[in-house]
Symmetry: C2
Subunit: 430 residues, 2 copies
């Protein structure tokens, strides 16, 4: 497989060329930004909600929102990049950053922080946003396209993820009982928190929908004595997970199944899904809830851990297209068809978005530290695209554009549930 | 005010008479239930989802669902009551119980438990249910009817509520860190839990929407050093609350305002509402959310404590008409317009329905113990109606027909929020 083919930033060349034609001349060393371009840039800043951001153009001229003291700079290195930014800033900023035609020195986090804070004032249901997102529709969540979507992100290569995830390779939000602890510890704490919320008991049967490289399945089997069937449609992840099961002597306790969540069969005491719902799509939640209903025993319970929104929304169009094709995190309200209509009661919802911001900070540090090794695997555009993705995700959690919900549920009227949540926080808890 | 007028069970005589005409003859000492009546009763049991319940008719004959061993008995004392039960069991069972024409010995809790468990199998959106509930529409939530609705329940008389509530008169779900503690302690623990979730700090300003007799307002002012403005539209509750403020020397810290939540003005650090949302109606949530947005400071946060459903539903029609006119608890999904569209993120949802079942058990014990005193104030029908209401509410929480949600929220992107929930459970917490 060539590096070119494995680079998501090269996946769809169409959008890259749409606006190129609009800028009739490429930058020359002596080129000057026109008055109309500066005016249009101001309008784009207005559409972004007046972030305290200064654009520095290729000719050295500067543009910032009127009446706002800029806190950081964004360099636009050529006229084509400027026209793209003006035309569709949300999409073209990351795109041009990945191509190296827009840059921010080492200050990308600050730039994204001010941009995302300013965006709070913008109505996500505004006409322009809706038109643009209609153009960049997410792929559908059918079983075939689900496999394709998952392949394009999770099969980028186990060796790549090993470079910057924790040693157990957990690619979901960690839980830091205190912010100072190491990522490794925080991932274990997260897995433990999930198991404690589910009150797993030795001998119980657990089904996991979307199991990554298997870390949670191993953790449950090893520390809580349960039998796990773990479903995944990423071939690369499953290959490594099965290797690890053998290496750790857990092949009798954990079975990995290469199948979609729609193919889950059997009866279980607990259903758990960490970081899969984002890829399911709200139109399939009722069906997923029916599967949970079908596969859970009478006192069965479940936990869903997912990225979410305060109200129905979409990921940034560039992330949705380049990084996570088909991804669509829900609002808490959109999750309801999973539960009530299928006879489940919600017991507990915890929002730990700040923990995801910190998790991403750890990943980013490791990613930056491993930059040379990543560059041996992929081209510089891939590295910049992934850096943008990690930084922008971090700031999205910091600024509250994204939430991280853990939703615990049980069958309606089941009284085999904990009396309070105190058990989570004592006797070696958090 | 005469006892008759103050008796909610006498509020609307129309429904009482509708079906009386259907039974052409009243029971005579020697009357026998007809075959058709027994058959119709079996159909009613079918509609109730085949509860293991035996009807004992006035002539001694028995009817129970085929193939189900009955666990308890319900006595139907006359033919008119039978026809009413057959025509609309959900409404007429409590109505006939209140009138003493249907009885269950001391076993009402058991009867309601089996009926409510059986009901789980029934589709609440079925045609019959919808037709019947359309007939018994709840009153609207306009400001004028809100006052009327609240008056009819909460102004029944402070002396009446004093007989069976805790000494601080908290008429909402308590929180029992362990089930053994006394109701008094559990109400204090609930108020403390609410304050801890809100992280109240000395000197902060709190607005309370729907304050009952003021117990939470006093608790916040006394133990957390905050200034409280508490809104209520029940004159009887406010009169006692103001007396208590003076008696306890808290009149500078707690201001009671006789006004609807729509009239809240000022700026506050925290918004709290315990047991009011049930009376607001989902059509007003967006507006209530706008009020929360308007009245909260930049790092403001809030907590809403409410009875709820797993999915949109209605209270039992009799409860809705006789006991709580205008009441309409929401599903968690229906609550969403309060938050997202008004720039709030949900941080934490806790479902403590089992605590409400236990709270109701305490109230019921005290209510039964005070029966003679209640009978000096009201007629036997009132006593039976209230007993039915308390028992059926208890079993509704035990069987999961009703939930109790505490929803904690903060402004989107506000990072002045606790890192974890551990602080709730240590240092004298729960």
């Amino acid at each position: 497989m060539s590096v070119e083919n494995r680079n998501p930033a090269n996946a769809s060349p169409r959008a890259q060329n749409i606006f190129e034609e609009m800028s009739t001349s490429q930058t020359t060393p002596n080129g000057h930004a026109l008055a109309i371009e500066r005016r249009l840039l101001r309008r784009a800043l207005e559409q972004l909600g007046h972030p305290p951001l200064c654009f520095v153009l290729w000719d050295g001229s500067k543009v910032s929102p009127p009446g706002v003291a800029p806190e950081c700079e964004l360099h636009v290195r050529d006229r084509g990049a400027l026209w793209r930014l003006i035309s569709y800033p949300e999409y073209q900023f990351p795109e041009m950053y990945a191509q190296g035609r827009v840059g921010s020195g080492d200050d990308l986090e600050h730039v994204l922080d001010v941009v995302q804070r300013a965006r709070r004032n913008i109505d996500p249901n505004g006409l322009k946003w809706r038109l643009l997102s209609a153009f960049f529709r997410p792929r559908s969540g059918s079983m075939a396209s689900a496999r394709e979507n998952i392949h394009s992100h999770y099969d980028v290569g186990n060796d790549f993820y090993k470079l910057w995830l924790d040693e157990q390779m957990v690619y979901t939000c960690a839980y830091f009982p205190t912010p100072e602890i190491a990522l490794e510890e925080a991932q274990i704490a997260k897995m433990d928190l999930v198991c404690r919320k589910l009150r797993l008991r030795p001998g119980e049967r657990v089904v996991e929908a979307g199991c990554g490289w298997g870390a949670l399945a191993f953790h449950m089997a090893r520390n809580f004595g349960v039998k796990v069937r773990a479903f995944n449609i990423s071939k690369a992840q499953l290959a490594l997970a099965r290797e690890r099961a053998v290496r750790e002597g857990l092949q009798d306790a954990v079975e990995f199944v290469e199948a979609d969540y729609r193919e889950i069969s059997g009866t279980y005491d607990a259903f758990v899904s960490v970081g899969m719902l984002e890829h399911v799509g709200p139109q399939h939640y009722r069906e997923l809830g029916q599967i949970m209903d079908r596969c859970l025993s009478d006192d069965g319970r479940g936990l869903i851990h997912t990225i979410g929104f305060d109200r129905p929304g979409r990921l940034n169009a560039w992330i949705e297209r380049r990084i996570f094709p088909g991804a669509r995190p829900p609002s808490l309200g959109e999750m309801m068809p999973l539960f009530g209509p299928n006879g489940f009661s919600i017991l507990d919802v915890e929002n730990i978005r700040q923990h995801y911001a910190l998790t991403l900070r750890h990943w980013l540090e490791r990613f930056n530290a491993a930059q040379d090794e990543v560059l041996e695997m992929f081209d510089p555009e891939f590295v910049r695209a992934w850096r943008f993705y990690l930084v922008s995700s971090q700031t999205a959690f910091t600024t509250g554009h994204l939430q991280l919900f853990q939703v615990l549920f049980a069958r309606k009227g089941c009284n085999e549930i904990p009396w309070t949540r105190a058990h989570l926080y004592r006797d070696g808890g958090f």
